[in-house]
């Protein structure tokens, strides 16, 4: 298996997480406040993808989900889909932010494993799942709606409680999952001077 192609098991992991993010859109979307960017469970799926699959597979999972939604499948919360959500809607920037988030969380999680201490993990997940997402999301909301930046910033505050809760849930879930299914993310050496990661634990029978 070259490192360019993905093994069948990796493909299946990617597909099932893309499906998981889609399933988290089923409870629907909640829109409150001035700017109608919905509050959605799907961000939880994005954070989980990073913290459980790691940066590479997680990125593919989120990208796959977004591509399917963009292609017109009604996978965004509330049964929406199509290119408009990826171009001119107020939530556009957040969606691209998800791609950044999953990479940041995946990379940092690999550095925290195998110990995965609680507070650093919360910090890492929040850095990707909140900071990175808002960094792209807020300005694009302002641009697409022709609103001053401060209105968009002010409005995004309504996401904060929910998003912080999702961060904590992600960390608690990821910790248990790494226990019940070890070897998903190869831990990265903390000092990158040696340059090589420890051999990946691979307990599954797919040789």
């Amino acid at each position: 298996m070259t490192n360019r192609t993905l093994a069948a098991r990796d493909l299946a992991h990617i597909a099932i997480f893309a499906a998981l993010i889609a399933a988290l859109g089923l409870p629907g979307a909640l829109s409150i406040g001035a700017v109608a960017v919905p509050i959605t469970f799907q961000t939880l799926g994005v954070m989980l993808a990073g913290a459980i699959l790691g940066a590479r597979k997680g990125f593919f999972a989120v990208a796959l989900f977004l591509a399917l939604a963009a292609a017109g499948l009604p996978l965004l919360s509330g049964g929406r889909g199509g290119l408009l959500w990826f171009t001119i809607s107020p939530s556009t920037g957040y969606l691209y932010g998800w791609l950044l988030a999953v990479v940041v969380i995946g990379y940092l999680t690999a550095r925290l494993l195998p110990k995965y201490p609680f507070w650093p993990a919360v910090g890492a997940t929040a850095l990707g799942g909140v900071v990175a997402v808002y960094l792209l999301g807020i300005p694009v909301t302002a641009i697409n709606l022709g609103l001053p930046l401060w209105v968009a910033i002010f409005d995004s505050a309504k996401f904060l409680p929910g998003d912080l809760l999702k961060v904590v849930v992600t960390v608690l879930v990821a910790r248990q999952v790494h226990r019940a299914y070890p070897g998903l993310i190869a831990p990265l050496a903390r000092r990158s001077s040696s340059g090589t990661a420890p051999a990946q634990v691979d307990s599954a029978p797919t040789a």
Binding site: A8, L11, A18, G72, G82, V151
Partner: protein
Amino acid sequence: MIGLYSPGRSVVHRAPTLLKLVLLSVGVVVIGVLQQPWQLAVAALVVLTLFVIARIPPRAAVAQIAPILWMLVIVVPIQGLLAGWLVAGLMAGRLITAVALAALFTLTTTVTSVLEAFQRMLRPFGRWIDADRIGLLVALTIRCIPLVTEIVTEVLEARRARGTRGSVMALAVPVVVRSLYAADALGEALVARGLDD
């Protein structure tokens, strides 16, 4: 999983997907720079005409555009107070027109052909991206959606059957773990059926 496609045989439906994508991008940019109400009116009329040509059922069209309308009810007053009512009106007009155009694309193009168009756009990057694998991933994801919802249902049932409700955690952990094991089994089936050929 048929997506949001609204079947039809019109010119708009039959136009090549890549062409539609290009026209859509140009259209959205043009709409975005319009500064005069009359220009916007012309653009809106063009889009409306396209909807008529494509014979989109009004209900399907409204379903696509309604979420944005709701949003405007709140945003327009804010903008009106901050920047003046003409600006607010123009912004709303541009947004609705552009959204309608994008929705028209989605309503007249099958998911399959959009995905094919994406694959064609990725072809120049073929050295890094394997278009075949992407096609497989797409189908696999669509297959996995019912699999995941089944897993969620089963975990919820198991908890109920055991007379407990429990926290988000007691739902999320088993759902994720079982999804991973189900994915492993799927991966094996892919190999057994010749995927890594």
